[in-house]
Symmetry: C2
Subunit: 156 residues, 2 copies
């Protein structure tokens, strides 16, 4: 049925069978979605990957493949790894920031216990700027150098 | 030269030309590296992607493709997106934690300014547990449900 072909079958100019592996996840009204995964993985690889997944998880699989393909198209050098690298950097900076806050709080506790031995300096206490590191990083044309593989310690 | 073939040319059972696009990034002594990207992207797609990148960035590209391929092999449903999802969750939890610390600090500043109007309760101040969210998440067989696409706000 030509008129009911999914985006994958339209792209590949073939008949769309009733049990098409692509059809539920690559609808005809979003041809760019299939074009993206086709460009990065190749259509047959996407089909193979979906076949190996239980049906109830195929939508999540198609979504994550599309996300990774879009990342790779936008950033052909780093792809998703560029995002992971940025998030690690953000977490690292915040670890430092939290450690500084902990130190300042400890100092302040000591001041409260011994008020006569130290000046009470309210400026030592951190303010709302401490949250500034949590801004989502903007898309950048100069992604940070990806350190390989130390930056992702659980990766084998 | 059969004996000097790179991992890609060995895998594809072909002659390895002197200007082989794979050779610098997929050495013969690490056949699993090429096997991984070949399984996920297909060898010819990897070659095409490398060709489109300036030579000085090809090593980073091969590394990130290998990383993403390994992620997809380990987690066929979520791949790299599973890691991104975990990191977002970690950042979200820490945002909440930092906001709580900010509130506690503000309360404590008020106590210092007006010591007679409030009890000094040292237990209100956060302790070192505040850093506990920064543990690298262990590899899990049950990755969190990836919310699509709200969890990655800058993704178009």
């Amino acid at each position: 049925m030509i008129s009911g072909r999914c985006a994958a079958c339209k792209n590949q100019r073939r008949r769309c069978p009733s049990d098409c592996i692509f059809s539920p996840y690559f609808p005809a009204n979003d041809p760019q979605r299939f074009a993206s995964v086709h460009k990065i993985y190749g259509g047959s690889n996407v089909g193979k990957m979906l076949q190996q997944i239980p049906p109830y998880l195929r939508e999540q699989t198609a979504n994550s493949l599309y996300f990774e393909a879009q990342c790779r198209i936008q950033d052909p050098v780093y792809g998703c790894v560029g995002i992971i690298s940025k998030l690690y950097e953000q977490i690292h900076n915040t670890e430092i920031e939290l450690a500084q806050i902990q130190t300042q709080i400890t100092c302040h506790k000591l001041q409260l216990l011994h008020p006569n031995n130290a000046e009470t300096n309210f400026n030592l206490l951190p303010t709302a700027e401490a949250q500034s590191n949590f801004q989502i990083p903007p898309e950048s044309n100069n992604p940070p150098q990806f350190q390989w593989p130390n930056q992702v310690p659980w990766f084998n």
